[in-house]
């Protein structure tokens, strides 16, 4: 070790010092040429855009009024290198002529909530979160109400826009 340090101390003078700096700089650039693309490669998920999709959920008039109804849909999504059809669901609440579409994802830890018509509440199986039919938290650990997805009724049909849920 001492030998290496002695040799390096020779390089701390004059022209040798310049050579040492040039050599270290070149090594640094070479390392950066590999490390920067490597880092960007690892961080790829941060830069991926989520596809926004507009999905039809069916006939608005067929939805019972005043009680959240589970509606299944399938959507074609690209997951990495694979394009696949995913089955999913949302809860739809019809109040008169207005429509609210809730994401079933619990805002606590991301599990799916279920509508319990007996107790008139959404219940999460993971940590016992509970929401009322408007999606507001009534008990348990969820920090926020259920996410309401952008939706509209167009010519009697319900449409929802799917994207990434806010964290």
């Amino acid at each position: 070790m001492e030998k290496i340090l002695d040799t390096l101390s020779d390089y701390s003078k004059g022209r040798r010092k310049l050579l040492l700096y040039l050599w270290m700089g070149a090594q640094g650039i070479l390392a950066a040429l590999i490390l920067i693309p490597g880092l960007r490669y690892v961080l790829q998920p941060l830069y991926e855009k989520v596809q926004t999709q507009r999905i039809q959920l069916g006939d608005f008039r067929a939805v019972p009024e005043g009680e959240p109804t589970e509606i299944d849909y399938s959507v074609v999504r690209q997951a990495g290198y694979r394009v696949q059809e995913q089955q999913n669901f949302v809860y739809v609440l019809r109040t008169g002529n207005t429509l609210k579409v809730f994401s079933p994802v619990c805002t606590h830890m991301g599990c799916n909530v279920a509508w319990n018509s007996g107790s008139q509440e959404f219940q999460c199986p993971c940590h016992g979160g509970r929401y009322n039919k408007e999606g507001q938290v009534i008990a348990g650990p969820p920090p926020k109400p259920l996410h309401v997805l952008p939706s509209e009724v167009d010519d009697g049909a319900m449409w929802v826009t799917l994207g990434e849920l806010p964290s």
Partner: protein, 560 residues
Amino acid sequence: MSEQPRSPALNAITDFLFERQPKKVGWTHIFGASLLMLFVIQVATGGLLALYYSPSSENALASVRYIEQQVAFGSFLRGVHHWAASLFVIFLGLHLLRTFFWGAYKKPRQWTWVAGVLLLILVLGMAFTGYLLPWDMKGYFATKVGIEVGALAPVLGGGIKRILQGGAEMGIKTLNRFYIWHILWIPAGIAALIGTHLYFIRTRGITPPGKRVDEPGEPEKPFFPSQAWKDFGGMAAVSLVLVLLAVFVGAPVGQPADPNTTSFVPRPDWYFFSLYQLLRIFPGELEVIGGVVLPGILILGMLLLPWLDRNPERKISRRPLARAFGAVIPLAVVALTIWGWRSGHSLEQQYAEQNAAPAWYTPEKPPDNDLADSGLYDLYLPLRCGNCHDVDPKGINAPPSLYGAGDRYQRAWVVKYVQAPSRRRYEDKDVRPTIRMPDYQLTPAAAEKLGAFLSGETGEDSLLHPAVDWTVRDTAMIAQGRELYQKYECNSCHQIQGEGGEIGPALDGVGSRLKPDWMYTFVGDARRLIPDTPMKDFDLWESEREALTYYLLSLREPAQ
């Protein structure tokens, strides 16, 4: 006689065996050797499991089942791999506790301690990334919760979540990256840290027990033979426990991951129970305290401990502050682990903990006749439901008879089921027909009609009607029924929460599916209702039938 020069390898072995160490070193110092052995076992068994494992969401569980059921000693090796992870955490905890109480983290061994704490973090990371690999229900949802905990981190949370998932949502990319973290990057980190840890031990030596930092060491003895035999003894005991656990307990394999399920209650392995319980303790906006702040403070405190504790004493009796922390923190972790282990087993328990019972059984109103008629003429007959659902009650190898469906099924469940039918029994090509109920894409209104018609189909003359008010939730009877369920080993044929046999249908949510009188009749005299059923005849007392029915009624689906 001229002395032959020795080879470098022989020199290294001799140096290692005759390394000098303090005389008081003994049984409390055997954990390190056992940890090294467990790491080698993990790498070896992991490498063997990887020969057959397929890291894709379609094939992962099938490949794990193949390893468990068809590859020679696959189940044993997987059991060893599974339990070695638990033993690793236990021994690492003991090793760190021993180091703490002996004051062995103090100067000049600060970095030996830091390497040990970093090892603990990586070992927990190994366990976490290993969860997801079978791509079963527990793995999927435990990972989802774990990733959401990462997302709680201030500012960086969203990015951490995306990087862990490999994108905006969990899927094939999550499995791929967890797999590579599990088999390459984290083990490489552990190996590097073990090497660093051993290097520090070799260069800084072992702490002389009880000596102040500034006191000279005490008389020494060689590692071999005394301490070497103790280490081997510890390793042999650990190996024996590992083999027994692998053979007699094994590693669980769950049901396929269903990202859309609304009823699965995920629970982590025991070493994450303390974190799991912290998440349950802090509700709402405070979740960040349980998920990030408290564990973060603990880890940071452990890492900085050698610099925070400047007391030169090593004897625990002369370190009052360390004694207090050394008692309170491990006890708190153990208490949270036990609390987490005892709570949150089921939805029912979760709501009981919130002092609010879930919706209990309520008898349904008689169906509207017009609605029932339209169910028959608009749906049941045109869809030819009777072609499969014979009117003669049969055993398990045929679609269920709908004769007396109104006595058997709760209408709300029928309405939900016909909109999204799923296989009620486990697939078995040799025993059960591969046909399954088609999905007719019924609208909610059509499902209501069909439900009304079927709920009007009563007529099971054999049905018993005990004088029990099922609408009253009797917790004592539920508890008694749970004990009877275990006593009569119902789980040898039925599953609850993925545990049990595959002969009969799973009983998750049965309380929302079947009517109580029907269950009461069936559990005591199954052939009275289904003549060909393979269900055993249990000679039950009336009170036992009642208790079992109460218990089954308590297994409710969250959504009805």
